[in-house]
Structure formats: structure tokens, C-alpha cells
């Protein structure tokens, strides 16, 4: 690992990172950069694919994840990867999602340079758009972060508060904010040969001591893990068909959650097909069972079907929850379900490209019947 720093001029964190990105683009080592940039209305920051350094006014701290960056990389690379390197700026959850998509042959990392950014957390899309404080969300967040205050905590999406791991893994380059006074210096680490090659000629300064970064990373990881453990304990009661049905009561079967999920990759969802259409008498027959039958008929089945398909690869980005128009706190069932299912298969989504998805792995001692051992 090579560690360097970006010197921040005039406490302008965002400006300095943009300067770094412009240098990167101008160096010719990458031909374009996918990076979050505020829309002209400033109500939302969306990833933009930028090839002209002059057009770059990115905001990599903008506490918002409007849509899955991993899914965008999938779209760009699935059919054919780029001929020359493209840099993609991603948060840790999205890199994890991308690794899953690569395993599932839905994305290709050829000529994709992953630039991971330390993530303190993101706000729900509407909170960001209608931010009640006087400052911009980015400035508010940076200030709170520097002060180490929990001012921003109340605005974070709940899933970000107990993030599985806010520090990027599997990135070629990492921009580090933990363990540095980022108003003066931002850490730049190369984690691959590609990363090293790219940083080699950029005008960056060498990092003097790396210990504080290590310590801060451990601290934030521990803190988030603790919060996640508490959450798991708190939510362990949502069990059994009645509780689960109650949980999804508000579901209107709009499938937004599926649309937002970075991993969901079927071309046509079974739940959009005609499989669940049936003759009226069949509906009636179902009604006869209890004298009544809740409609839409396949909403709960859809939720359970989606969970069944996605849970082993769930990277806990919470985009499904953010997409729900009726504010169903989906992560309250997805995080516990993911935790249990992934433990059962000793599977770690997004951790390692070579780890095979459980679906294709056969273990002799997998799910033994009671009494077999």
C-alpha cells in the first residue's frame, strides 16, 4: 500500500478533492470519472460520468446516495467493459455491491478503477433536498465531522448509523477522511498495482505517519459494529408469518424497493410477469379458505421472494428502504435476515471477488437434517 496525502488549501476540502480529480483526468491515465456532482438545483447529488476536467464540480462528501453506483457500473460494463480505464468514485456499500455484481457476472472490473471514499453516512434523499439547517448538507456534515460532534447523526439514514463498514475495501485508491485532520490533509492510499501506477505521477505528498489512520479506522468500525449489534438485538422479535405480514402491511406492491436494490438483476421480474394472474374462480377459492383474502395477492410473496433472492448478497446499503414510498423500515428485517442467512453459509458479500456465492457451492455438511450428526 502506498500512502500519500492531498494538501487541503484554505480549508476547502471539496475544492481540494476536485483539484485532485482534475489532475487525475488530465493525467490521461483515466479517460473519464464517475463521481457525485450536485444537480443545478442543488437538491440532489447524482453520479455523473465526466470526461472534461473543466466540467468537474464534484461533491464526494455530499451525504446522499440517491441510487446505486454499483448498478451504474454494472450498466456500463456488463455488455462490454471500457477499452481504457474509467475511475468510479464509490462509497463502501456500493463497492461491496459491485463485488457481488462481478461475482454474478453482471459487472466487469476490466478497466474500472475503483476510488473508494470514507463514508460518514448519508441523509435520506428528501432530507438532503429540503435540508432544514442553514448550511448546505455537505458543509453541515463536514463541520460536525471535524468537531466530532453527533449533530449530523439525527439526519443520517438509520442504516448508515450502523453501517457494516464505512471504510472502503476492494478499492484501487482510497480517499481517507478518518484519522487525519482533513481540513489540512486528505489521505490517498493506493491499494492495488493499478492504483499505485495512477498515483505515481500525481503531485501528491507522502504521508508521514499512518498510525492515526489505523486507529481511527478501528474506532469507527467498532462503533458502527456495536450499534449494529444493538440493533440486531432490538429487532430479533420480528419472526413468524404473522409478525412479518404485519411488518409489510403498508406494502402497495409498487416494487420500488426492487428497482433500487443494486443486486437485483433479473431482466424481467417474475412478479412483473403473468405468473400470478389467475382465473377469478381461483381467487374465490382462496377467499373461501378464511372467508376473506387480502389483495394485492402477491405483495407479501413478492417481499419474501425478493428477500429469498437477495439476502445472501445483501450489502446493507439500505437503498430499498429509501425507495419505499410508504416508509416501511425494510432494513429492520433485512439486516437481521442477512446476518443470519450469511452466517449460515459463512458467506461475506462484497468482501472477496473469489468467494463464491452460496448458490453455486456445495458443502457436504450443509444443512444436515436433524439427527444426522
Amino acid at each position: 500500500m502506498t500512502q500519500k496525502v492531498i494538501k487541503v488549501k484554505d480549508n476547502d476540502v471539496i475544492g481540494s478533492t476536485n483539484e485532485f480529480f482534475r489532475q487525475l483526468l488530465s493525467s490521461g491515465k483515466i479517460q473519464a470519472l464517475l463521481v457525485p456532482q450536485n444537480t443545478p438545483s442543488k437538491k440532489v447529488a447524482f453520479p455523473v460520468l465526466i470526461s472534461d476536467p473543466k466540467k468537474l464540480h464534484a461533491d464526494i462528501i455530499a451525504p446522499i446516495l440517491p441510487a446505486s453506483t454499483a448498478a451504474m457500473v454494472s450498466k456500463m460494463t456488463k455488455v462490454q467493459p471500457p477499452a481504457k480505464p474509467i475511475g468510479v468514485v464509490m462509497r463502501s456499500c456500493q463497492i461491496r455491491a459491485l463485488i457481488e455484481l462481478v461475482k454474478l457476472n453482471q459487472a466487469n472490473l476490466i478497466n474500472i478503477v475503483i476510488i473508494g471514499v470514507d463514508c460518514p453516512g448519508t441523509f435520506p434523499l428528501n432530507t438532503y433536498a429540503e435540508f432544514p439547517e442553514k448550511k448546505t448538507p455537505t458543509h453541515f456534515l463536514l463541520e460536525a465531522w471535524v468537531k466530532k460532534s453527533d449533530d449530523a447523526e439525527k439526519y443520517f439514514r438509520s442504516v448508515c448509523r450502523m453501517c457494516k463498514d464505512p471504510i472502503p475495501t476492494n478499492a484501487d485508491i482510497i480517499l481517507g477522511f478518518y484519522g487525519t485532520d482533513f481540513e489540512k490533509e486528505i489521505i490517498v492510499e493506493a491499494h492495488s498495482d493499478v492504483g499505485k501506477e495512477i498515483l505515481k505521477d500525481l503531485p501528491l505528498e507522502d504521508e508521514k505517519e499512518g498510525k492515526s489512520r489505523e486507529k481511527a479506522v478501528k474506532e469507527i468500525r467498532d462503533e458502527k459494529t456495536k450499534k449494529r449489534a444493538l440493533f440486531l438485538k432490538e429487532k430479533e422479535g420480528i419472526k413468524g408469518i404473522d409478525k412479518v405480514a404485519e411488518f409489510f402491511d403498508k406494502c402497495v406492491n409498487c416494487h420500488n424497493c426492487r428497482q433500487a436494490c443494486p443486486i437485483c438483476y433479473c431482466k424481467e421480474c417474475l412478479f412483473d410477469s403473468s405468473v400470478f394472474d389467475a382465473e377469478a374462480y381461483k381467487f374465490l377459492r382462496r377467499a373461501e379458505v378464511k372467508g376473506l383474502f387480502k389483495m394485492p395477492n402477491d405483495a407479501l410473496l413478492f417481499q419474501l421472494g425478493r428477500m429469498n433472492h437477495m439476502i445472501l448478497s445483501c450489502v446493507e446499503c439500505g437503498l430499498c428502504e429509501q425507495a419505499c414510498p410508504n416508509n416501511i423500515p425494510l432494513m429492520e428485517v433485512f439486516i437481521p435476515a442477512a446476518e443470519n442467512a450469511q452466517k449460515e453459509f459463512d458467506y461475506h458479500p462484497g468482501k472477496d471477488r473469489t468467494e463464491k456465492v452460496p448458490m453455486i457451492v456445495y458443502r457436504e455438511d450443509e444443512f444436515l437434517e436433524v439427527g444426522e450428526k
Binding site: 457476472n105 433479473c266 431482466k267 424481467e268 417474475l270 381461483k282 382462496r286 448458490m359
Partner: protein, 1026 residues
Amino acid sequence: MTKKSETIGAIAVVGGGITGVQAALDLADMGYKVYVLEKSPTIGGVMAQLDKTFPTNDCSMCILSPKLVDCARHQNIEILTNVVVEGIEGNPGNFTVKVLKKPRFIDLEKCTSCGSCEAVCPVSLPNAFEYGLVKRKAIYKPFPQAIPNAYVIDKEGDGKHRGCVDCMRCVKECKSGAINHEQKPEHLLFHVGAVIIAAGSPPFDPVVKPEFGYKKYKNVLTSVEFERVLSASGPTQGKILRPSDQKHPIKVAWVHCVGSRDASVNHDYCSAMCCMYTAKEAVIAKEHASDIEPTVFYIDVRSYGKDFDKYINRAKKEQGLRYVRSRISEITEDPKTRDLRIKYEDDKGEFKEETYNLVVLSVGLCGAGERHSELMDTLGFDVNEFNYVRTSADDPVVIKPGIFVAGSFLEPQAIPESVMQASAAAANAAALLKDSRGTLVTEKKYPAEKDVSAQKPRIGVFLCHCGINIGGYVDVPAVVEYVKSLEDVAFVESNIYTCSEDTQKKIVDAIKKHDLNRILIAACTPRTHEPLFQKSLRDAGLNPYLLEMTNIREQCSWVHMDEPAKATEKAKQLIAMTVAKTRFLQPIQEAEIPVLQKALVIGGGIAGMTAALSLADQGYETVLVEKEKRLGGYLHKVYYTVDGIDIPRLLKEITEKVSKHPLIKVHTSSQVKTLKGYVGSYESDIQTPTGMIPFSHGVIVVTVGADEYTPHTYHYGKDPRVLTQSELEKVLSESTKEDIVDGETFVMIQCVECRDEKRPYCSRICCMQAVKNALKIKELNPRSEVFVLYRDLMTYGFKERFYKDAREKGVMFLQYDPEKKPELESKNGLVVKVHEPMLGEYLKIPADHLILSTGLQPNLDNPAIGKLLKVPVNDDGFFLEAHVKLRPVDFSTRGVFVAGNCHVPKFINESIYQAQAAAARAATILCKPTLKAEPNVAFVDEDLCSGCSICISVCPYNAIERVEEKKDGKTVIHAKINEGLCQGCGTCVSACPSSAIQQRGFKDKQILPMIEEMTEKKLVSYLKES
């Protein structure tokens, strides 16, 4: 198709065990008529009696039964049971086999195996299939999966017990009139071109060794009896109980080598499979009841086969098998507890006594000439000193021209070797009879198929009473009335036996008369009966896949005998479910895959040359590709053998035969560079010294061999006195008497750098190499000294006699513990230090030569070759066959076969018969210009497929690939299933997250209506009840 030829295109296979069945299936698939002549009332042999098989712990019957069913169903196979071969006359290509057919007293055409006769039979006698551990009736079926699936009457009894008493109650009871007490023996003649003897060999009867107490003490069982105890269908339903008091034993001992390696009964041979089945029995016993404490008394643990060592190690480590190295002297019984006391001398020479609740004697096999000498005498075969038939090691399955042998009739051995020899014998027979292939087989002509795909379903439902099997518990007339009410059902009928010949005529007539276009049979299992009913559909002009079956016997009446009302209700539901599917059945056309009738053999050692010759002799053009400059492979490093093969002559002769054969083209210094296609039509590019040569072929045989492992220890390579076994062999082959002086000392160390963590396999051949070279040294100068330091001496089968010979000639065999490996001290000359357990001390042996047995290592190219051919390589680097027991030369990828050392290290004779076996299996594909594809294949909806490739990872047959295509100017990626390779297992269908794969005959729109029918109806009735 009739062809004029001088040979007869039929083969008699004597013996219907797994060996005979395999030989019959191979030959029948190649287009020969086969008569299986079986002495007992059923085929299946000993394998049918086994509980599990090592080293995979597969259920023996579960893997055997499909083969038996295939054999029974095969158009070209005729099975004759209760027959004795009385003589074989004639010449190769034209034999007459004289057979005495004993009466079965049952008409096979009529018996439906319903079992009502058995219920009324008053005679009870020991059940031979269960080794007398339980009783059976005089009218009986040997075991539920018996083939022919019919009863038999035992008129003779077993000497002590009387058989049938002619009370005729069974005759009255039998509704199909199948019993005929007046049947007489018949003499039959079969005209065949070749004969394969696969008559097996019986287990040793330990009664002749009174010290083991067998038959004297109730709690001493033989290992074959214990197989039945373990079996879920056996006398104790798989509960481990000891015979004296039906109590569960805790301390169980197995005693190795009972009747094997024993001069006192003229069994100076090793029975080759007992070490492994003992470990398996102990492991399975432990799985059944974890409180069992298993102890194994052994001399050597002969774990010489593929993955055997790993199995033994796991058994020791995970199942806690305790191994005690000792030949036991006596077993006595405590008359009070009926426990058994075993006296033995341990490896330190101390006498000990231990008490066990149950003792299992691991019995070996007896030569066929010893126990049923009538067959050997009748046939006049040459026998060896152990009463086994004698063949030449370089032509291992040939008894004499036209008469071949396979299985344990030849030598005690386990199932894979038997199966390979069966296929090898088939290859030899096929080569002899190549001109009459296809002359005696007939293909049935059917009327043209009506196109009913667009018609509204008109379902015909045929219900079976199966005598009283279904009718006795399920109210069939009530079910008939119910089924009439179901939508789309146009015709319903019930019959006493739906499978009987006259019912088939009724089915055909009903289809025509009522214009039925979908058929549902509610009876027993499709496994045995589907082909029969499919034929009836074809006779009536319907596509055979417009048939659906539902099992209202095994899955209904049999399991609900005590609740007939519920059984009737369930039968209705099962049929309603199946009607829901039948409605959506569509005709399936069986695809024909073209076959280029040519073969590619990769690797030109003894296995490759043998495979090429066998294929060419059967009439198939073959290209043999060898990487090195000359043919021969590892054979160039072998100079002599103990079993009489003149290696240089063999090498010269076979190389010449291969080079001169008009149908073989040899490319040396060549390699297969690229390979495209699949079974039936491969295209290879072969890099030869003169350029790239393309070759199109239908099958591939991989025989790339292995080489001696080069050691890194014991100063090898630094001290010229340290050699490997094959280097020593070369030196000895060039030595004369004068070259070895009196007292010259050779120390051989076995298992050098193998059977350890890094190379955790036994190379099978090295112990024999050591024995062979030791004998050679002693032959050159009897006053020389040879020490062999070994772990377990793997001289299995008849090789044991050479081990004994070596001991008698003064070769010193010292066993060492792998934890205390021999050490080399070479300050002043070579001194080998080894721990001697008897003395409990280290011995120091000054040596003139140190010889290292390092075994073979797989070809380093194997992974690359595996990738090219889409076939797997195991952890040790050897090729991994489709199934270690029953498909030892096939890969799961159809059309690719394996033989020789690249499969696992083996002896020359073993490579030869395995290569012939591979040729036979390949010929089952090459024999016809087209190959029938599996009808129920899977197919991809390209618009739904995301190309995630999960299906590719889970496909066991490598039948799926990910393809990139241009569609409307856009690149699209999707999975593509090769219909020639797909076996219709359905794994991909269930794995596909996008429902983009469907399987013919099992489409979602056929299965979902069944589930809907079942869940909703059941739910409704359940909720209404409660």
C-alpha cells in the same frame, strides 16, 4: 437391417452381478444382442446385498438399481434367471452355449409382483439374501428391486429346511394366474459370437477356521452378514443389534484377513477389498449409532485405491476407528454375557485380551474353482494355484479367443475394477464381432404420430388396482367416480393390473376409440413402468411424452394401509394434481445428435495405445496424439515384471501394431491445441511438427499418464548411491550376477514424500515395485541383503504371493510408523536408522544402496487439459471420473473418457483393461451415426437470461456455456444449453433466479398448476375440518 457376416452378433454374459450387467449394457448399447445368464432368480449379485459403498458412502442399491432397470428395459438384452451353463462349444465368433433352465414355477409374463401369494404361503425358511438372519416364505421375491420383478418358488429348501409343500394356496390367491407348479427344467441353446464370464466368486466361509468361533458363537458375524445388519432394508431395518439378544453392541471388533493371506486354507492371496469395506462398515456403524466403539485388527491397511487413504484417515480421525496391528489367535465366548474375548499379540509382542459385544469377520473371496468348480470344470478353463481362472497379464480379460472374463471370477477385487473389466470384455467381444454388429437387434416400428398439440385436452385416466396392493386399501371405484368429475377428463377406467399385456391393448383401443390426446396412469412408479406405457401411447399414434404417471401405490396405499379412507382421499388428490399437469403436456421430439464415428486419443502410453487399438479393431478411425517423440510413455521406464510380461516385447509389439493399423493415425511430438464442439462432433486442432492439423471426431479418450515423483529428501540427487525404484530397475535390468557381491545391502524406503499431507495418496504400484526389485536382487545374488522399510504393504490380490516369495527368499520387511520416519545417517557410508516397534528400539542398517519408493505424480498439464476438455481434476491432480464405483472410465461430460495413470496410478494390466473399457464406453457412442439426446432437456429463454452464469456453475454435465451474440445490432449475453450434453437433471432450472430456464416435461406452467391444485384444495379441506 441384416448383414451377411460370418460371426454372430450376439454375446452370452454368464453372471448377472454388477460386472455382467455392465458388460451387457455396453454391448447392447453398441448394437449387439445380449443374453444374461444368471444362476439365481434375480440379477444384481453381491452388490445388491451391500449397504453402502466406499469411499463415497453411496447407498449400494440406490446406485445399482438404475443399472438393473436399464438392463431389464433394454431392447437388446434378454435376461435368463435360474439357469446353469452346461457347456460352450464352437469357435470364436460362433459358439453354442448349452444352458439348463431350472423351473421358477412362475410365469414371468403374468406375475405382477403384487405379493398376495407370499401372504398365504405357509412355509417359512431362512432368507438366503439376508444370510439366514431372518426367514422368508417358499414363494418369495429375493429383494424389492429384484429383476425380473417377479416371484419364485423354492421347491428344494436349503438342505436343513424344506421348501414348498405344494399346498397350492398361492395358486388360488394369484389373480393373474402366474403360478405354475408343473414347470419343468428346460435345456436351451444359445448361438452367440462371444462369451463373457462374469460369474463372480463366493465369500469365504469362516466355519473352516474354528478359532474365529463363527457359527459357534452367535455374536460373531461375517462382514457380508453385517452389511445386511447395516442396511435399512435388512433384517434389523438398519438398527445395529447383535444376534444373541437383539441388544445394541457398544464394543465392536472387525478382524481382517479372514480367509485371506492365509496359507492354511490355500488362500495365499489378498482379497483386495476387505480393508476398505471394513473401514466403511465401521464408519457407517458409527454413523448409525455414535456410541459404538469400533476396533479393527489388521495386518496392513491396504488403502491403495483412489481416495482410499483419505477415507481411512478420516475414519480414524473423525469416527475414532481404533486400529490394532495384530493377527488374532483366538475368539472365545463368555457364556453368560455372550460377549467375545479376543486374544492377540500387539505390535510390541505382548499378549493381550479384550472383550467385545460383537465381532465381525472381514471375509475375503474364494476362487470360483474352489466353490463352484462345476462351472470351471464344465468350461475346462485353466486355473491358477488359487482356483481362479488364469489369463495373461498383457491381455487381462481374455481366457481364450472369443471367451472373456471380468470381475471377481478373475481375481478378488472391488467394484470399479470389476466394472472396468466388464467394459473391457465388451470391447474385446465387440472387436471380434465388429462385422455382425447390429445384425441381431430389431427396432420396433410404430405408427406415425398424430399432431395433437393444438387440440383441447382429452385426458384418459387409467387406474390400477395392482391386485390388492392398491385395491385392498384405496376405494378404486370411488376414485374412478371422482376422477370422472375432473375437467378435461374424457375417459376413466380401472384395471386389476394396468401393466399387464391385455391392459396395454385396452389402453391403445381406448385412445383410438375416445380420441384421447393425453394419458394419465395412476399406478406405481414411472421408474420401472413408464417405458411400457410410453410404448402403448406410441402404438396408438401418440407422442410418448403425452403420458404422465402418478404413484398411488408406494406413495399412497402402501404407506396408509391402516387408514383406507384417508388413502382414498389422498389418491383422489394425487390424481387431481396430476390431471392439472397432464392438461398442459406437450409432445417432445427426441433430438438426434449427429455423431462423427471417429475418436481422438490423447496420450500414447500403454493406455493410449491400447485404447486406440481397441477402437480401431472395432472399426473406428482413431487419431492418437503423443506429446513426446515416441510412443510408450512410462513403459519405457519398466524393464521387467514379476507376472511374466516381457515388457520390451510388449512395447515393441504394441507400438508396431498401433503404427501399422490402417485405422490409426499417430502424431508424435504433438499436442491438442484447441478443441471445439461436444459429444458427437468435436473439432480439434493438433499442433504437429509439420504444422497444425485439424481433426473432427465424435469422442475423446484421455490417457496422458503420470511420471515417477522426484524426491527431495534422503540425499537424493546428491549421493549417487541413493536411487528411486525405477532408476534401480534400470540398473538391475543391465546387471549380471557378478555385479552384486555377497552381503551387498539394499535398503528400500516406501512412501517417500507421499501418503502425507502434501501428497495424500497411495501410488498403488510402489510396494510391488519394491518386491519386484528385491526379488530381482535376490535372483542375481541370493547372498545379498535387502531391507524394505514400509508402512502398509499394498500387495493386494494375487500380488501377495510375490510378497510371500520375497519374505521366503530372505528379504527383510520392517514396518515403520509414519510419525517415526526412517532417517539417513551418511557420515561414513549410508546408515539408515529406523524404529522397530517389536524391539521398541532404533535399528541402524548400514547400506550400500538406498532406494526410494516415491510413487507417481500426475501430469502437470492435467489442469490445462481438464480445462480444454471441460473435465475435472481432483485435489491430487488426477482426473476425476463421473463416479468412482460405477462409471470409472466416464467423465460426467458426455463423450469424454479416461484411462491409465492419469486417472490414478495403476499396474500395466490395469491400464490395459481400463483403456479397453474406455474404448468400449466410447464405442457405445460411436456405434451409430446419430445419438439420441435426452428428451427432457432444459432450455433458456434468452430474453429473460441475465447471463449471471449460476446455471453454469451448478450444471454437473458441463452442458451450459455463456455466449455473447449480436441481436438487432446490440450485444447480448446469455446462457446456452447444449442439448447433446444436457441430461435433464433440472439443477439449472431450480438454480436460475430469473426463471429463464425451463425443462421440457417439467415447465413451470406444468408444475405450478399441480402445486396450486394440491395446496389450495388441501388447505381448503384442512381449514374446513379444523
